[in-house]
């Protein structure tokens, strides 16, 4: 079975600073990887996904993530954050032969002025 660990439960940063949200996963088979964002009282919105190919994946709102197979990581980055990026971010993994997404615990990103 797969599992996902998000290493930071809360990340406070100042506006225009860079940010990295860390995600490590564990699986005995090949996986696809995802990052979702959840704004207050809203659903889960897909930021980006890694299925195959280039290990650097670009998503919406200026976010990108890099798949590192040897370190089993899929960290999310943004070079300059805005107040509007304040939200909960979830890393998720899907076994290539399965249908269930397994989510991490989430990281609350708070961008301060």
């Amino acid at each position: 079975a797969q599992s996902v660990t998000q290493l930071d439960s809360q990340v406070p940063v100042f506006e225009e600073a860079p940010v990295e949200l860390r995600c490590n996963y564990s699986s005995s088979v090949s996986v696809y990887l995802f990052w979702y964002v959840q704004y207050p009282n809203q659903g889960l919105q897909l930021l980006l996904k890694y299925l195959s190919g280039s290990t650097l994946v670009k998503g919406i709102n200026g976010f990108e993530a890099e798949f590192n197979k040897s370190q089993t990581s899929f960290h999310l980055r943004k070079p300059s954050v805005h107040i509007s990026d304040t939200a909960e971010y979830f890393c998720a993994v899907l076994e290539t032969s399965g249908s269930r997404l397994t989510f991490g615990e989430g990281t609350q990103l708070t961008v301060n002025p």
């Binding site: 998720a92 399965g98 249908s99 997404l101």
Partner: protein
């Protein structure tokens, strides 16, 4: 942009009552899912549905739960006899090719 629509947004029910949560997936998607998020906890998989049958379910999805696609557009989750611990946000999702899961805004179920 196509959306997954869930109704109601919030439902309060008495313990032991049956509830039906409703979802309208994206029209050309073929795979449908239910997830839940207990307050303060991670999002958990409940069930996936394809070709009018359950394709995978988690250990959470016991006999109290059932899913149905009663017509060409709706996808429902029924909880037969609700317990306090069923209180959670329930998310419906759908996907087509390319593993682009689209989630709805959720139904907050409160069991009292």
């Amino acid at each position: 942009e196509p959306e997954v629509t869930q109704t109601p947004s919030h439902q309060v029910t008495q313990m032991g009552q049956e509830v039906i949560l409703r979802c309208v997936p994206i029209s050309n998607h073929l795979y449908f899912y239910w997830y839940r998020q207990i307050l303060g906890q991670k999002v958990e998989f409940l069930v996936s549905f394809y070709n009018n049958e359950i394709s995978e379910k988690s250990e959470i999805f016991d006999d109290q739960f059932s899913v149905e696609r009663p017509d060409g557009s709706n996808f429902t989750l029924k909880i037969r006899s609700t317990k306090l611990e069923d209180s959670a946000m329930y998310f419906c999702a759908s996907s087509g090719a390319g593993y682009g899961y689209t989630f709805g805004s959720g139904t907050r179920l409160t069991v009292v």
